[in-house]
């Protein structure tokens, strides 16, 4: 069975500080990995995804995530957060014909 674990339900960070949102998955087969972001009162939007190739993937707004097969992780990082990054972040893994989402991590940006 496949599952996704987001270890932190909430992460408070000061503005302009770095942040890491953790994601671990369990799967016995190859996977595709995603990070989706949900801004307040909106639907989810794709932030970045890993399908194959380079294990480091980047988004257009400064986030990056690294696929680590040995540690079965896909942590999301940003070197300097902005107030506009306040949102819920969902890690997801897709195997077979479905996507399984983690329970989300709420990122609080403190002024």
């Amino acid at each position: 069975a496949q599952s996704v674990t987001q270890l932190d339900s909430q992460v408070p960070v000061f503005e302009e500080a770095p942040v890491e949102l953790r994601c671990n998955y369990s799967s016995s087969v190859s996977v595709y990995l995603f990070w989706y972001v949900q801004y307040p009162n909106q639907g989810l939007q794709l932030l970045l995804k890993y399908l194959s190739g380079s294990t480091l993937v980047e988004s257009i707004n400064g986030f990056e995530a690294e696929f680590n097969k040995s540690q079965t992780s896909f942590h999301l990082r940003k070197p300097s957060v902005h107030i506009s990054d306040t949102a819920e972040y969902f890690c997801a893994v897709s195997v077979g014909d479905k996507i399984i989402f983690g329970k989300g991590t709420r990122l609080h940006i403190l002024p």
């Binding site: 639907g43 794709l46 969902f90 996507i99 989300g104």
Partner: protein, 114 residues
Amino acid sequence: DTAVSQTPKYLVTQMGNDKSIKCEQNLGHDTMYWYKQDSKKFLKIMFSYNNKELIINETVPNRFSPKSPDKAHLNLHINSLELGDSAVYFCASSQEMGVQETQYFGPGTRLLVL
């Protein structure tokens, strides 16, 4: 223009009623989905359709019946609503069927059953 739209945005109703949620996408995608997000933000797939054909049907009570009149629409009808049906329901679409595809989500329909 909104890529994936849902109506209504909010729905408050009594237990036992029947209600429908509509979803439309103007992206020309072949595949559409319904997800349920519970009060703890846990997001779980309910159904997926590809070219109007049902592909995924998770263990959802048969009170929930999706209908896809055409590729651009996937509606969700719920019979005999129960308190536990209260949640946010998201519609999504992707260009093709395939787990590597990016999914585009609608804004959600917040359903409250009293």
